[in-house]
Amino acid sequence: MNLALLLLLVNQAWAQSRTITGKVTDAASGQPLPGVAVIVKGTTAGTATGVDGSYSLNVPEKGNTLVFRYIGYETKEQAIGSASTVNVALGVNSEQLSEVVVQVPYGSVAKTAFTGSEATISSSAIQKQQVTSVTRVLEGLVPGLQTTNGGGAPGSSASVRIRGIGSINASSDPLYVVDGVPFDGTYSSISTDDIEAVTVLKDAAASALYGARAANGVIMITTKKGGKGKPRVAVNFRKGVSERGIPEYDRVNSQEYYELMWEAMRNSYAASTNPATKLPYTPAEAAAAASKNIAGPNGLVYNPFNVAGDQVIDPATGKLNPSARLLYEDNWSDVLFQDATRNDLNVSISGGAENSDYYISAGYINEDGIAKFSDYDRFNSRVKLNTAVSKAVKAGMNISATLSNSNGNFADGTATANPFYFSRYMGPIYPVWQRDGEGAFVIDPATGERALDWGVPGQMGSRPYAGNSNLLGSLGLDERSTRRSEATANAYLEAKFLKNFTFKTTLGGNYYNGLGTTFQNSLFGDAANVAGRSTKSDTRQISYTFNQVLSWNKQFGSHSISALAGHENYSLESRFMSATRTGFPFPGTSELAPAATAGASTSYTDEHKLEGFFSQVSYSFADKYLLSGSFRRDGSSRFFTDSRWGNFYSIGAGWRISEENFFNAEWVDELKLKGSYGEQGNEDVENYYAWQGLYGLGWNNVNAPGSIVSSLPNTNLQWEKNASFNVGADFSLFNKVQGTIEYFERTSDNLLFEVPLPTSTGIKSIWDNVGTMKNYGWEAQLGYNAISTSDFDWRVDLNLTSYKNKITKLPQEEIVNGTKKLMVGHSVYDFWLREYAGVDPANGDALYYKDVLDADGEPTGERTTTNVYNEGTYYYHGSAIPKLVGGVTNAFRYKGLDLSVLLTFQSGGKFYDANYANLMHRGSYGTHWSKDILNRWQSEENPGDGKTPRLQNGISGQDGASTRWLFDASYLTVKNINIGYTLPKSLTGKLGGATLRVFGAVDNAVILTKNEGMDPQRSFNGTSDYTYPIYRTATVGLNANF
């Protein structure tokens, strides 16, 4: 646009502020200190030093003293005078508030001058954990934040919730911002070694300037930048090995399995009529029939024992025939899972000349999955360059490019091709390799190797579990991959003019291209009868954010005012194309060209646009009284013209009591009270055209185009509003303890809700703004420098969060959704289930509680039990939302040796473990069993554990979702152990002043849950699925800086 015109204007307007540069070093070692906060005293202007300790700062006209603050070091104030370079050396001290410069929307401020709620994680904390996606390091480090573990798929990311669950049908994900630009790529495309800091903005005062999309908080990622001076090289290398972090459920063995299945079959006969006698089966008849049929086509089909199928189980005892010997027992987990290696190398070079600085980096990660045939690799690079054109004009670019490739994007859910579902539930008697009658391997004549067993009639029979599949055979021949190329390019131009004015414009773009392949091979399995099926899909997404910000800073004596105003627009274009063909002449390729038969193909484009105007004013008096306010107006393409604009605002105030003259408690180093209130917006629903009444296309009838109604219009649809209240205190005491305690209350109003319509009207829901939900609670962060000497340091950091979620308004009285029910007064994740009452000791039936009803059909308050599942009464049974989440970091240093241990935990909350429920079935032929099934009811004399009903194949009306599968979700995880040794100068001096640190680390070292096999950190809503389990990684590595 009109950039040229602007440049001319800027040159006319001569800047009155000046730029001060310098370098900050450790007073003892002379080593440069990166990340030191440099603040102009009495103002909110500030910056942080780069990796080489250097900084460059625009100092307003009135500013004449710089304050240098760094964790673990003494704060230093330095008069500027007429100097343009100010170098300082900081001495070690441990009396400071942590992380003193806060990254905020469109700039940064001193933490002491900040009225909002935030938390910052430094690069050193990030680099302790060996992760590919930065989302995985946040757990346990930031109060107010709750994460999933993200599962174990290579290259995958964790999900994050800041201060509760913000929405019901719209997104509850925070906004990710990288170097000031909202980020649309994959999180794992950002190299964690490039990250200088991650700042989590939690309340309205902190994030309201991103009003449109900040309702669920903001995660700001700041990448490293170069400092002045000679080039510095940093090399990080890590090599690790991963294994399952959550063990598989303990399951029965082949012998137990056969006996148990026999029992399930016998009990099934015993419950039915004998066609021969027209009478119920007698116990003896039932036992005989079960022994006869257990290995037959309506039983287990396979017989892994050395006796005939009808001889395996003795009908008199129900036990294995004493002469039956097991011929084989293969372990599907062993053949499908592996110890996985991980390699991670990242190199960066940074530095700067008088007017410019640069940071360039390149890295490579290769991460194998703990499931075979899955891996992720990534090549990443970044260039960051800033240059001062003149004293008044600065410009810079930050470009990153990533190529990544994922293999093994396995099918999920109950698809046979999902290796986790497949291997967990495959009965132990079903072998990987085909066996003959003697149990010997069968050799495939085509290959000369052991033939795999596919569970089909032509081999050992029609396997009752997942017939026609063998994942060891098919996954290697199939392909389920995504090849991505991603880039971000941010450019800015900043100009200072007149007195105290700065104009900055930034254009930031994200590019994503993903080529997906789903290929089912032509030889075996699901697509064998069509000679292979391949789907190629291409997703190409380009988005950009363009903003123009005018800011102004002014000092009047003790008054300091800063203001900014700006405009921003965001545009996303996402193009998708896919095509499927079948009929491959030869194995070995997934490309479509050789395939004979056309399948479905499609393409479409989606667009999303936002535009906003914003302003902010901050005022501080004598660094004691702080006030800030902001206003933003945003429009979204998701809403109709007349309803699309929303107004958002925040106000914040702070009072630094410790700066008051009357305040003379010596033991209080810093005490600030702060409060804020504001409203932010959320428009992030999965549908880009939420307001529109549409007919879905592509419902073609052979060659005639077709369309059916897909959504109803709602021209009144508008922004979901999130009102956020925060009050808290930052403090530093006894030169030892630093912390923040805050109370928050978030009210999501005008919830973007898919309001259920009667299905009989033909459309199941309509988007509308109905409903209100609150999240409220408290969070605390405490740091304690327990010991701090020149040789030995020990620091403890603790953070805790507790919140409650409550629905206060809904479009209809109640909405049942799976195992949950939404209702006013309850949380969004309150379980609504039938209540399991254990086993009827007389007959082994499963029992459920049931309300006793009076004549009017109202519950009398008394309860009875029923063995009819459908008659059981539903009740609320607690929430998936935990009572308390948190993390503790213990960090030690003894001379060059350092050790840190991060523990994370959750207390309370419920988890519905359907994975386990499916291992406790009543006798589905072919499906595996948990060891707990051994505690089943067998007879009145042998009633088992009272929780596990009798086995009976095909029983109906007895089982279903109930509290039987609801467990305490509390967990404790040793998330990270990192032990390192920094080589002494005497050794590394010869390397030209290099610092070298070698380390060993274990991520997810120990995961303790209430039940073995259960993974309560899988989801926020407390339900399980059949996905990739989290892994444990042991790593050795090297950090070198030259």
């Binding site: 499927t580 646009k609 009838n701 009207t761």
Partner: protein, 486 residues
């Protein structure tokens, strides 16, 4: 100060110039959908809506491989009856439908839930067409064609809703059927009576027949006047209105002879001269494993071949005489294999190797012969009934000749109906209208306790009624929990 303002003003101007986006910047439109008001501007657009509605009759639903539109409900209605045996449990699809336990569930993803959504989706789309097509610009004859099709589809959908959510028409006219909508709405309605629903069905079919009279259909999936008469005959038979049934069935089958014996063994996957209405499904629009043929054809890799083979009962098989071509579409006892066991059906097989392209039968002339014969027999016109029956069955078995009278004749026609239309979705409604209890034969070659579980159940047992989805009761102000089927 003045000076500053002077210097500032061009800057302010520059910022403004930079910062206002185009006025329509925030206007976006999807490419996978089209605005509703665009659809009915022209008859061409209305045709798009009509074709989409037909397509929705075979797409899979709810991510379930047991839901593929009308034919999945047809299969369910057969499995509820007496004549199809599931071989083994296999991948477990339709086993709950077969052992009659599936209908106790009222979740959205259950058989009842997805069937309810399926039929009402069809009705909603038909209602939108009926409400809007007259305003579209275009040829009036095209509008009549479109409207006639939509009316017939609506009637067809209400027919199955009424029969699945309530007992049969006769004797239950005042019982609650299902909510009745004849125009687009978002307001839920209470259950209309069976009579009210049937009144609407008859009215819609009558109007559709008029609108479609003399018009040539554009595709086998569309309805022409003959197919509408066929539905009318089917409805009349269910209502025990035999005069109408006989008359409409006769009109409907005019010019349509029973298919040849060769055609009968060709797999029922490709429309032939006898088909009156069917869905043509090309390979690229097929639903692969989630399809009718996946559940029937055990010759290819399919759910049927992986344990869920569909077999005829020995009881019914033994009643097909040797020399009847219909005996040849089942595996002769003693010749079965693990994949194609004894009594396994080969009536429905994929027509092309390596392709899932296969058409779904919705109506064929044989059904009209059977309706006409039964209705005539029940009206006492036995001679004509025998003639019509012989015209059909002799095409299957040249040696056949029906000579029975009275109830023997009716029973013979019903037997021929079970044989001729095996697997085409008629079992349940026939048992309902004839008030015949479900009585499944047991023993070798027949139903097995392990899977069938239930061998006998009264046809008016309330557990056979499908459930109204709980979400419907929750969201529909006109329905209370007490309105649920017992």
């Amino acid at each position: 100060m003045k000076n500053i303002l002077k210097k500032l003003s061009p800057l302010a101007l520059a910022v403004l110039m930079l910062t206002s986006c185009e006025k329509d910047y925030l206007e976006t439109a999807p490419t996978q959908s089209v605005a509703s008001d665009e659809v009915f501007k022209t008859v061409d657009g209305a045709f798009v809506a009509l074709n989409g509605t037909f397509r929705s009759m075979w797409t899979s639903m709810g991510g379930s491989h047991g839901h593929f539109g009308q034919k999945s409900h047809d299969l369910t209605m057969d499995l509820m009856g007496t004549d199809i045996v599931l071989h083994t449990r296999g991948y477990n699809w339709f086993t709950g439908e077969y052992n009659l336990s599936a209908y106790a569930s009222a979740t959205d993803g259950s058989r009842s839930g997805l069937a309810w959504e399926y039929y009402y989706r069809t009705i909603s789309n038909a209602n939108r067409i009926i409400a809007n097509v007259d305003k579209a610009t275009g040829n009036p004859a095209d509008k009549e064609y479109i409207k006639g099709n939509a009316l017939a589809l609506r009637a067809y959908s209400y027919f199955y809703l009424a029969n699945l959510w309530q007992h049969t028409y006769k004797g239950h006219e005042t019982a609650p059927a299902v909510p009745l909508y004849t125009e687009p709405t978002t307001e839920g309605k209470p259950r209309a009576t069976v009579q009210e629903v049937y009144d609407q069905i008859v009215a819609d079919l009558t109007q559709a027949e008029t609108l479609l009279a003399g018009k040539t259909r554009k595709h086998i999936s569309h309805l022409n006047a003959a197919a509408v008469k066929g539905i009318r005959a089917r409805v009349a038979l269910q209502m025990e209105d035999y005069a109408t049934a006989a008359a409409k069935a006769n009109e409907a089958r005019q010019g349509l002879a029973p298919m040849s014996a060769t055609a009968y063994t060709a797999g029922f996957g490709k429309a032939n001269s006898e088909w009156m209405w069917g869905l043509e499904i090309p390979n690229d629009q097929s639903t692969i494993y989630a399809s009718f043929f996946s559940h029937f054809d055990a010759k290819v890799v399919s759910y049927a071949s992986l344990g869920l083979q569909k077999k005829i009962t020995k009881e019914l098989y033994d009643q097909i005489p040797a020399g009847d071509v219909r005996k040849s579409v089942f595996i002769t006892p003693g010749t079965g294999t693990a994949k194609l066991p004894d009594y396994n059906q080969t009536k429905f097989t994929l027509p092309v190797a390596g392709s899932w392209a296969a058409d779904y039968i919705l109506m064929r002339a044989s059904e009209m012969y059977l309706i006409e014969a039964e209705a005539l027999a029940r009206l006492g016109n036995e001679g004509e009934a025998q003639t019509v029956l012989n015209a059909l069955v002799q095409a299957r078995n040249p040696a056949y000749s029906a000579t029975q009278t009275g109830s023997d004749l009716i029973n013979e026609i019903l037997l021929q109906r079970r044989i001729e239309l095996w697997g085409e979705g008629f079992s349940l409604l026939d048992l309902k209208r004839t008030k015949t209890n479900i009585k499944r034969p047991d023993g070798d070659g027949n139903h097995q306790a392990a899977l069938a579980v239930v061998f006998e159940r009264a046809i008016d047992d309330p557990t056979l009624l499908w459930r109204i989805p709980q979400s419907e009761i929750d969201a529909n102000d006109a329905l209370a929990p007490a309105d649920q089927n017992p």
